[in-house]
Symmetry: C2
Subunit: 211 residues, 2 copies
């Protein structure tokens, strides 16, 4: 293991320089936490996580190139000792599940107060799980939901084209299937989302980060 007496060794990954500096500044003010590196995209995060072997990686979900989820998965694939704490701007983000499945040990909102972030890093370093209250709530409600509200790849694809303003027929042509098929997918998607019109379906799917 690393850092029993040196404190918690942290790697910070975020594409926004401003945010990165913020996290570093907040964490550096804590005596038991040391920021040992930074990364500005997913690939860099993976690379540095594997070479520096920090105790905790604080990672933004949305990054150019490799997504936070994907980077998390790749890191944990190679080195399970490195724990990942994921940060997000929006609480309504479908990638919450993705990140947790990818092996993240925590999921916090960027809007969270400084103490929450710091406490989160300590929890994760200690092997515990750290979740923002808002995120925890969302997770629970998603677990008990009868509909996993997970769209099939095809449904998602159709919905994305709907979002672009295509008609059912046009979507059919684009996907090389009949209009009837498109309507079927769409109706199923409506059902899962609990709506009955295409526009609401699109906005809802966007809110949930399904698109």
């Amino acid at each position: 293991m690393s850092g029993e007496q040196n404190g918690i060794r942290v790697l910070v990954a975020d594409d926004h320089a401003v945010v990165r500096a913020g996290i570093v500044a907040l964490l550096a003010s804590e005596p038991d936490i040391t920021v040992i590196g930074e990364a500005s995209d997913g690939e860099q995060a993976v690379e540095r996580a594997l070479t520096l072997r920090p105790d905790v990686v604080v990672m933004d979900v949305r990054m150019p190139g490799l997504t936070g989820d994907a980077a998390t998965a790749r890191i944990r694939e190679h080195d399970t000792a490195v724990r990942v704490l994921v940060l997000t701007t929006y609480e309504s983000d479908a990638s919450i599940l993705a990140a947790i499945e990818a092996g993240a040990s925590g999921y916090l909102l960027k809007a969270a107060p400084a103490e929450e972030l710091i406490a989160g890093v300590r929890s994760v370093a200690a092997g515990e799980v750290a979740l923002s209250p808002a995120i925890a709530t969302q997770l629970v409600s998603r677990m008990r939901a009868p509909t996993p509200s997970s769209l099939t790849p095809r449904e998602t694809e159709v919905l994305r084209l709907v979002a672009e303003g295509l008609s059912n027929r046009a979507i059919g042509e684009r996907l090389f299937v009949g209009e009837a098929t498109v309507k079927t997918h769409l109706l199923r998607a409506f059902e899962k989302l609990g709506v009955n019109d295409r526009t609401r379906a699109v906005t809802l799917a966007m809110e949930r980060g399904l698109l």
Copy 2:
């Protein structure tokens, strides 16, 4: 005036603690810049801007309560000596125009490198205008666009209800007008956005931050 020899006095306003800390950390490392205060929402920003009278207010567009635009307008209404530098996460944000009309002296992306932010603060303090390259491009393209793509309040209102999945008739009832009126507003909005269906209109308006 203030701060000829004390350096540039800055007030930082952002609802995200992490980002706020980041901006402060970045600016504080510059000898000619002093952060004299912070605010976590619009009202606070206005209040502190007027009492502290900083040279520059670095302000996020999206904040709970009072928007960045609104806060900017209110500050400049009372004290034109205070200049405002607005930060945004997305380059496709309709509030760019709003902020500039409100009297902002600069508009930067949060993704901007640290040097850009610092240079921006210096420029704005010197009375110049600071724009991110991406934002400047967008501004120009919007100026030369035949359609200002600005929806009337009523059109925006209708479009927002469309986004919620309401039918034209339902929207009419909600707004106490006839269905025909709703259709008129919608058609005009389609025209301005260059689309011909409600769903695309909504997604486009969202992309442009018009909703």
